[in-house]
């Protein structure tokens, strides 16, 4: 049974008209750690990717693909990395449902262009950063 209802699929397809280039969703799953959640996450990602042929999916198992998982800085499953022309540092830990689902769609669109919707002042300030900034955003599905 699909996770996304037909109405949701139509809405996402419409949003995806703003996609400007290829996007890769790297999915991290580990059956022994969180089987059910990882399966649901994979299914959701595949359903989203099926809505636009510019989106591809790659599946990694942290227990097997250790080096790549570490390089991505992923230490939880299920997880998703959203990559555009390069890895911009967009990560999702846990199934992006509810409120997070719209953020996943937004992440796909902004990664596809590499053009963030931010003011000139913000961009200038960020361009001056000399240290790494890791932003964690905790949320719940509702």
């Amino acid at each position: 049974m699909p996770i996304l209802a037909e109405r949701d699929q139509d809405a996402v397809r419409k949003e995806f008209q703003r996609i400007e280039g290829p996007v890769k969703l790297v999915v991290f799953s580990q059956e022994l750690v969180a089987g059910d959640l990882c399966r649901q996450n994979e299914q959701l990602v595949r359903e989203v990717a099926a809505l636009d042929d510019r989106i591809t999916v790659e599946l990694l198992n942290p227990a097997i693909d250790r080096e790549r998982t570490e390089a991505y800085g992923v230490d939880q499953v299920p997880a998703i990395v959203v990559e555009g022309a390069r890895d911009y540092g967009l990560r999702f830990f846990g199934i992006p449902s509810g409120y997070e689902f719209s953020n996943l769609i937004d992440a796909i669109i902004v990664a596809s262009s590499g053009e963030p919707a931010l003011s000139e002042a913000t961009r200038t300030a960020l361009a001056g950063l000399t240290d790494d900034v890791h932003i964690k955003v905790f949320s719940t599905p509702t």
Partner: protein, 69 residues
Amino acid sequence: MRLAQHMAVASDRVTATAIEATEFPDLSRAYRVMAVPKIVINDRVEFEGALPEGQFLDAVLRAVAPTAS
């Protein structure tokens, strides 16, 4: 999360991680998540709820500012 994501795309220095709090109770406890969204920057600056872009940027800059001594 939207602002954090766009900042990550704007700067190679910035990463944005969305964490589903109910799926990761240990992480949520470690970061004392009582209300969502809760934003934690470099484990140093934190706030709850959405902020306008300018104030979000201020929080980012505070997180990398040298520690006052």
